[in-house]
């Protein structure tokens, strides 16, 4: 399988009035063509910031991308997303990489019809004429499962229900048949049944069109249902990346373990207390020169407080950034 996206050492910082926020401290991962990669992490872990950095969607005065590369391997060649200028990146956005945002109500222009908002993309990237656009818009709306598409394309976002709106968002993102679609917590604001529908829809579209999907979420349940591989982030760094089954069966990083333990289980004998990870979110303004997770890690030992752990392999396609070996219950010696 060929990687379609290769991100290495992405560093992004926000220069604010109160100080510098080190949002991303060297993020690396890759995305294979046609696969679904889930990115998991708590608020502030940098999952959204990573994606938005790739497409230059962060407000640039406070934000600065300060390092790394993001190689996008397209049919027409390889480009480094981070090095593109405004004109070039605007051709990639929407045309070759689509974005689905979390809250469809605020992510859609309230005074423009839904059809028009989809058509904008089509006009821009595919150069379709008026009538062609209209037909394709109806087609797209039907494909994402909106009943009465032939009339509803003239409606405004507020006239749709939450789930329907999210489908519209999907239509907007997929309009020009992009190679990659990035979905930033698309189902977080929806209730569970609708969530399932959206997940199903995404998978179906993905199969049909062969799109690679990056799905950002903090919900491990969704991850289990949709992902091929999972990337776990903490404090602006990737801490674990693994194929989905491996992650759930043999988690390697203490944070991942903590996350999985925190999930209430149906099969737990008796009613046990919910286990949570101790401590509070990390301070991104003063990143330490050692493992960011050390304060909350139950396995932390001396080395964890002195150096930043490198990425090590613990299985096929399974890497973690940690000094400890959870399986053998002792520090790793090959690091």
């Amino acid at each position: 399988m060929a990687p379609i996206l290769e991100v290495s050492d992405l560093v992004t910082r926000f220069y604010t009035f109160d100080g510098v926020v080190h949002a991303l401290n060297g993020v690396s991962f890759d995305l294979q063509a046609g696969e679904t990669l889930a990115i998991v992490g708590e608020s502030g872990s940098g999952k959204s910031v990573t994606m938005m950095s790739l497409l230059h969607l962060l407000p640039m005065p406070p934000a600065r991308i300060e390092g790394g590369s993001a190689l996008f391997h397209d049919d027409s060649g390889t480009i480094d997303l981070l090095k593109l200028n405004r004109a070039e990146i605007s051709r990639v956005r929407g045309g070759r990489i689509g974005f689905i945002f979390q809250d469809a109500l605020s992510a859609l222009n309230p005074v423009m019809t839904v059809g028009r908002q989809i058509a904008e993309s089509l006009e821009r990237h595919l150069g379709l004429g008026h009538e062609q656009c209209r037909r394709r818009v109806v087609e797209l709306l039907e494909k994402v499962g909106i009943p009465g598409a032939k009339q509803r394309y003239r409606n405004y976002p507020h006239q749709f229900s939450g789930g329907m709106r999210q489908r519209v968002m999907i239509a907007v993102a997929m309009a020009c048949n992009p190679k990659i679609v990035i979905a930033d917590e698309p189902t977080t604001a929806l209730d569970v049944t609708v969530q399932a529908q959206i997940v199903e829809l995404t998978q179906q579209l993905q199969r049909e069109l062969g799109i690679a999907v990056i799905w950002i979420t903090h919900d491990l349940g969704v991850v289990a249902g949709i992902a091929d591989r999972v990337l776990v982030m903490y404090a602006g760094r990737p801490v674990e990346i693994a194929p989905v089954d491996d992650l759930y069966d043999h988690p390697g990083h203490p944070y991942t373990i903590g996350l999985l333990e925190a999930l209430p289980r149906m099969d737990a004998a008796g009613s046990k207390r919910l286990i949570s990870i101790e401590g509070s979110p990390p301070d991104l303004m003063a990143p330490p020169a050692h493992c960011q997770f050390a304060w909350r890690c139950r396995y932390a030992f001396e080395r964890c407080w002195n150096e930043v752990p490198p990425q090590v392999s613990v299985g096929p396609q399974h890497h973690i950034t940690c000094f400890y070996d959870v399986n053998r219950e002792r520090p790793r010696d090959n690091v």
Binding site: L57, S106, L108, V111, S121, R124, Y156
Partner: protein, 302 residues
Amino acid sequence: MILFGVLFIIFFMLQATGDPVSLMVSRNASPEEIEAVREAMGFNRPLIVQFGDFIAGAVVGDFGDSLRHKQPAMDLILERLPATVELATTALFMAMLIGIPLGLLGGSNPGSLWDTLARGAGLIGQTIPNFWLALILIIVFAVKLGWLPAFGRETWQFLGITLPTRSVILPAFALGLFTMGQLVRFTRSAVMEIRSEDFVRTAYSKGLSDRQIYIRHILRNAAIPLISIIGVQFGYLLSGSIYIETICSWPGLGNLLAEAIGNRDFALVQAIAFFTSLVVVTLNLLTDIAYGLADPRIRYGD
């Protein structure tokens, strides 16, 4: 409903603040003379009757005759109205011409020179009292430089329509300064706010050009509340012209009001107060309607 309240307030205020008759006659009038006037004007009738009469008259636009001018108050008002409308409209136009583009430029380029100019303009509009500005403008433009006429209104006739001449420029500019300030501030903050909205980010994520995003997404959203602001400001301009008209001898409603107050011509004052309120309230109503039509969330709300 509101109009009734307005009438009530006007009437009530007049009655409650002292004997209107003694305000109207000269100080040397004897008690008999005062009584005579009181009776002639009907002020000795029970209050309720007077109020009823007032309302009845108001409905048909009859506010009684102006004391000074010996003409029906309403006629005087209508006679002076076009001048004020001309002044207010010109002021609004000037304010929009300067204020809106400046606000747009400032809001789209925060921290830039345009932004500083926009904020400065907003501040100027807020802090310079229009009557003082009129005085200064007169000193500078009319007296020292002699470019613009300072007093009176000149018009020219074209195909039967009365059109303004440059005599309106100075007064309109002074009157419109505050509005200009409001427009700059609003437009600037609207643009700044909208730029950080989620849907603008979505627009960027679709790869649209800056210009497309600006016009279709940012401007379109800013324009809707702008309608409200413009409507309200127009009402303000129409009703707040008293100082400018007095200073520049502009023959409009404001001037009439000042005169009426000076002459203790309360029938006229009441009439003007009511009429102005009527205009402003109606204008607000129309603005609300326009807003409702323009915003699809309201028009197609469910």
